[in-house]
Symmetry: C2
Subunit: 326 residues, 2 copies
């Protein structure tokens, strides 16, 4: 019996789950849920039913784990607590500051439904969080630095696109080599926001737009750009489509610390990802397997990747994992 | 109430546990156990009792977790099953091929005693195994390469020291840059033993010893050196003491794979360790915390790091970990 997966939300991330589920013999896609009306208008790459989200309740017994692929700004804060009452769920809620509050809401909902909800399960939060936990736990006398990029930040790209006179834009987050070096030397704690990353925007402007004004608006935008050194490069729509249509990302977690009499230790984790949504989807699928197993064992409530015994993520059984991977 | 730790075996690793336990506010060293006779002859850096291993049974109620710091060749195969009946234990058994059999023995003994035993909890097996599991689970369409070094292999150093005419020696395992590059390109599976690592031996020979014969014996030694390119450099005892008295180590786990339509993903984990024993001791201590908690929750039997929810290793509570690290 395969684990029956539902996809809720069919953007880049949902399509990633749809494509990557094929890599897992123990799972199968059961249905795709959408808010589109009528749902049937949604063209998907699979032959599975497309269902309006309002009818999700009819699928309670036909979905083992629902993977929520909506955004953290408006979709997940509503959908995760709602669906966690009906289904085991996995999401990639990534608004760091709001995770505790979000977790509490999902938790009470999942407990009420007797379901298991794995939240914030992408690569950061998610895989990077795990490395921060393992590294900091093992070498407590140390400092951890997290760096992101080179990669496309969707939130920052959207922010630039909202500026008057901008037709389209893409924003790359770029970690600073000098900051990475300093993190490796144990100086991560002292790095400023500006020292850690710079930002690079490729912008397509409307004909005749005031380029200096656009550049200034970007560079001075609070929260998004004001605290960073930002480069703005104006390009044509053709160039944007040709050279910037991928969603690569990646980053570093670097923990440097000491033991004994000044012995230094460096723990470093790096990701280089051609497709941020497909990689995130891959993590969500592994966490779906874990949610299914934890639920089967009688657990309920909101879990993070910190709570999941690593073996629960794997398709291998205990003995295979010990033999092949330990 | 602090977690009361016992150290069994007072070599490099035992002294590492003794030094690193000070970094953890929730643990305290209760006693050191030795096979030395009389035990009191053992000079330690702590004020705790030194107890002969034969009297360990008298400490059953006074030790929460016993950390076994003996060797995998002869100590742990006997001690781990024996002590797992009396105590929650943690060990770093690292004879990869024998782990399944070892695990079974420790498991039945720990179950009989109602105790929790975390086995093979160093950095490889251990931390590297975790990365292999996470990476291979998330990106199943990929290959993983593990590389060790630069670092001192104690087993290989010992093997050289046993050669006639050798006064002392130290062996460094060195990963090959070209092999690491190929692993990053997804070619880890095709790499031969010789391609992955080379070996470098610093040897102090007896006055008048036949150096050519020693070099030949090293390079042709089956299992240890015959499958590798090995450099042998003869040095003086003074040079050995001055330049090669540390036990650094480290390595790489590299997983390269694909999602979707040829999108490449690279997951890489690196360790650079000044002191192999102190770093291993640090992992054992985190696992001791986990063993204590799992036992408290009623679990028993042999566990590996694959079975441990990451949060169990940490001194942080759930909420703190989510807030600070997720």
């Amino acid at each position: 019996m395969k684990i029956k997966i539902g996809i809720c939300g069919y953007g880049n991330l949902g399509r990633g789950v749809e494509s990557e589920i094929k890599k897992h013999n123990d799972m199968e896609l059961a249905a795709i849920f959408t808010r589109r009306n009528p749902a049937e208008n949604l063209k998907t790459n699979s032959a599975v039913p497309v269902v309006h989200l309002d009818h999700a309740v009819l699928w309670e017994s036909k979905i083992d784990v629902m993977i929520l692929c909506g955004g953290s700004a408006t979709d997940l804060p509503v959908q995760s607590p709602q669906l966690a009452r009906l289904f085991n769920i996995v999401d990639s809620f990534d608004t760091h500051a709001k995770i505790p509050e979000f977790k509490e809401k999902v938790d009470s909902s999942a407990r009420a439904g007797g379901k298991c909800a794995v939240i914030s399960a992408g690569w950061d939060p998610g895989l990077f969080s795990l490395i921060r936990l393992y590294a900091g736990t093992i070498i407590p006398a140390g400092t951890t630095g997290s760096f992101w990029g080179h990669g496309v930040s969707q939130g920052h790209s959207d922010a630039v696109r909202r500026i008057k006179g901008v037709v389209n834009a893409i924003q790359y987050t770029i970690p600073q080599d000098e900051a990475i070096k300093r993190a490796r030397q144990g100086e991560a704690a002292g790095l400023t926001t500006r020292e850690k990353h710079k930002r690079l925007c490729y912008v397509v402007a409307e004909q005749g737009a005031d380029l200096l004004r656009i550049e200034k608006e970007i560079k001075e935008m609070p929260n998004y750009f004001a605290d960073y050194d930002t480069d703005v490069i104006f390009i044509t729509l053709e160039e944007l489509k040709k050279n910037h249509s991928q969603l690569p990302h990646g980053g570093y977690v670097i923990h440097a610390g000491e033991t004994g009499d000044g012995n230094k230790h460096l723990i470093e984790f790096t990701l280089k990802l051609d497709s941020n949504p497909e990689f995130t989807a891959s993590i969500l699928l592994a966490c779906a397997r874990a949610a299914f197993r934890m639920h089967k064992e009688g657990m309920s409530g909101a879990k993070t990747i910190f709570d999941i015994p690593p073996i629960y993520l794997s398709a291998l059984d205990d003995d295979e994992a010990v033999r092949l991977l330990l």
